[in-house]
Amino acid sequence: MKLTKLAAIAVAALTAASPVMADLVFPSLSYRTGPYAANGTPVADGFADYFTLLNERDGGIGGVMTKVIECETGYSTEKGVECYEATKGEGALVYAPLSTGITYQLIPKVTADDIPLHSMGYGRTSAANGKVFSHIFNFPANYWQGASIAINHILDLNGDDISGKSIALVYHNSAYGKEPIRTLEELATKHGYKLTLLPVDHPGQEQKSQWLQIRRERPDYVLMWGWGVMNQVAIQEAANINFPMENFIGIWWSGSENDVIPAGDAANGYKALTFHAVGSDFPVFADIQKYVVDAGKAAGSGDHIGEVLYNRGLYQAALLAEAVKTAQALHGTADITAGMMRDGLEGLEITDAKMTALGLGGFGPTFSVSCENHGGPGLGAVQQWDAAAKSWSMITDFMTPDMGVIQPLIEADSAAYAAENNIEEGCN
């Protein structure tokens, strides 16, 4: 009796939500709740605000309005499935789940449904091999490149000799955190440092034992692959044991304002990687202020603008919008489909002129995507936190990773995936 009643309401609720076509639909599988909300919210805000800006200022992309459909995942893979199924029927052009776990799950699904997936700086690293992963893009940089850049930075600090040094990796004990391990191990044999692995279980609030071990072993450097509340706790714990902050380097997902502010002055000098510039000193932010914020159309509470993760969401939206333009030019139609969007992503070329035209001159490196290489060049830089000024600043230029080590790993891992799933290599 109850069930039939509920089912009737459910049917009514679902059938009434009819899809609106003829928009460029960008599903945003965001998370504004749960232990990762502190990091998920600014990314989702930046992503949504950029498309709002395009609609308000330019009337969409190529004359077609954009539409962002948000769906709350809470960083949970089950809700991710629900969100994917709920949004894919609405003409979704590209997915960006902002979760490595959900990315892994969606890789076969989006490929079967002919929808591209852009996991920017996260997800399955070997998806950079476009010959195997036809619909997955992870430009402009991935975890293995990040690991290599972190080691390169340490090499620079030590005059290119780190043999005998010890490096600890504090990582989220999940697919995300485990990604860099193989690269770091390869690099350890190459450069002769000693690698210690310290997993932290979801959600990462409990890290006493890991930091006790760091305090005991005193590694020269600590790398961190953390996310959400884990970052804040790790930085606080590092401060508690007086670990020198300038020797503590996080991946780009462990380097936002939300992560360092709770530790106060103690976080001063903490470093993190990044693959785009920091701050709001770019012309596009004036437009966002004018067309989005002042018009009262900012996503969320509107207080994250200019933060690292907000910029990342905005950067991703900008890259996707450029890919839409590329796809529109390639296929000669403004109202593109998901399959055309895939071609657009594959043909994407980011030049300085394009970035300047977007009001993002110098915001990110130039790169181009090809059928074989879905990962871009993987340039990254190091940013450092200034607790007094409460701001990040870039302390290096964009550096190239050690592709001599990474490329064979990508080939091997993607070949294993291809063999497991009977995928024939494309791009011939």
């Binding site: 965001s30 776990g101 799933n421």
Partner: protein, 358 residues
């Protein structure tokens, strides 16, 4: 009036002891089964299958499994998530080691492997009871998750520790992998739920089920009348873990397609299944199914109403979802501490007499 029992005579013992002794109930049951097998597949879409029916059917299997242990045998367990992980990783190893094996056997063998693991972790139940046993099974939960994270053999040494289900089929129909149709996934899970629910129902009303209930009601008395606690408790752990393992295998292979043990099979899953059977009704097969329906469908329904219909912000809707589901759970438990199954039983009692209750 609704329940017309006039003329519904029982002339054999078999007809008197059947699961649905009232004709109307029986027809209702046949109708639901027929509808689920014949009509739903005609209309099922990707969304309905992957977001609603498949998870519901799988959680129902897991809930029946836990209900056998907690509801029928009285052994409190918090290891469900860990046992589901055993089923999932067994399925993964079987799928990748024997690519030609039918998915049905993969699922059943995974259940059998989980049953063995469950029996091992059930051993402490011979010495400890109640909350102390819950803590012991909690250790199983943490140990198993740690094990699948720690030993690379379980995830075939992949870089990330994720396991992904390759495409496997039964009778030529793909059931796992990205290209499986929603109809195939749905019917496969439905058939397994039906078979296992039938099995559970018949186990629990036979000799084995009665010995479980004897142990649950008073173990010393049961021992005195000749029920062997060792055999009884371990069969309960074994059968329960078989169900939970099958659910774990389906959860990984059919529903999610790729899992990562800490996130998919964490402690929150153990609690989720426990809540399902408490809300549905301890010691009731129907209660397990309706409890699973409540816990799986309610959040999706609320989300669709709040975000899809009312157009609320996703974060506010997500928070409200917790509030409303939580409030409903408290409400139901106050109104009927024995769960939704008891509520249904009472409704039925009233309907049988209505409109002349005296």
């Amino acid at each position: 009036m609704f329940y017309r029992e006039a003329g519904d005579y029982k002339t054999t013992y078999a007809s008197d002891t059947q699961t649905f002794p009232i004709k109307l109930d029986r027809w209702g049951y046949y109708f639901i089964i027929g509808f689920a097998f014949l009509v739903v597949p005609l209309f099922i879409t990707d969304y309905w299958a992957n977001a609603i029916f498949v998870p519901f059917l799988i959680w129902a299997v897991a809930a029946i499994g836990l209900n056998i242990l907690v509801g029928y045998c009285g052994q409190l367990s918090l290891g469900t998530g860990g046992f589901m992980a055993v089923g999932a990783y067994a399925a993964y190893k079987l799928m990748t080691s024997f690519p030609d094996l039918s998915i049905l056997f993969v699922v059943l063998i995974s259940g059998a492997i989980t049953a063995l693991v469950g029996i091992i972790f059930g051993l402490p139940s011979l010495r400890i009871k109640g909350f102390y046993l819950a803590v012991a099974t909690l250790a199983a939960q943490f140990f198993l998750v740690w094990l699948f994270n720690k030993v690379p053999w379980f995830y075939n040494n992949s870089a990330s520790g994720q396991i992904s289900a390759p495409t496997r089929s039964i009778f030529g129909f793909e059931v796992t992998g990205a290209t499986a149709t929603p109809e195939a996934k749905y019917l496969f899970c439905l058939a397994i739920l039906l078979a296992l629910a039938w099995l559970a129902r018949n186990l629990t009303r036979g000799r084995i089920g009665r010995s479980w209930m004897a142990i649950r009601d008073m173990d010393i008395a049961a021992e005195i009348i000749g029920v062997a606690p060792l055999k009884t408790k371990l069969t309960a752990f074994g059968v329960s873990s078989f169900f939970v393992g099958v659910a774990g295998a389906l959860f990984f292979a059919v529903y999610l397609g790729a899992v990562e043990v800490g996130e998919a099979f964490g402690i929150q899953k153990s609690f989720l299944v426990l809540f399902m059977i408490i809300i549905g009704g301890l010691g009731s097969i129907f209660g397990s199914i309706i409890g699973a329906a409540f816990m799986v469908l309610m959040p999706v329904l609320l989300k669709n109403i709040m975000v899809g219909q009312l157009g609320w912000a996703t974060d506010i809707a997500a928070h409200f979802e917790f509030v409303i589901v939580g409030a409903l759970i408290i409400l139901f438990l106050i109104l009927e501490p024995h769960g939704l199954a008891q509520l249904w039983r009472l409704t039925k009692e009233k309907l049988r007499l209505w409109p002349f209750p005296h």
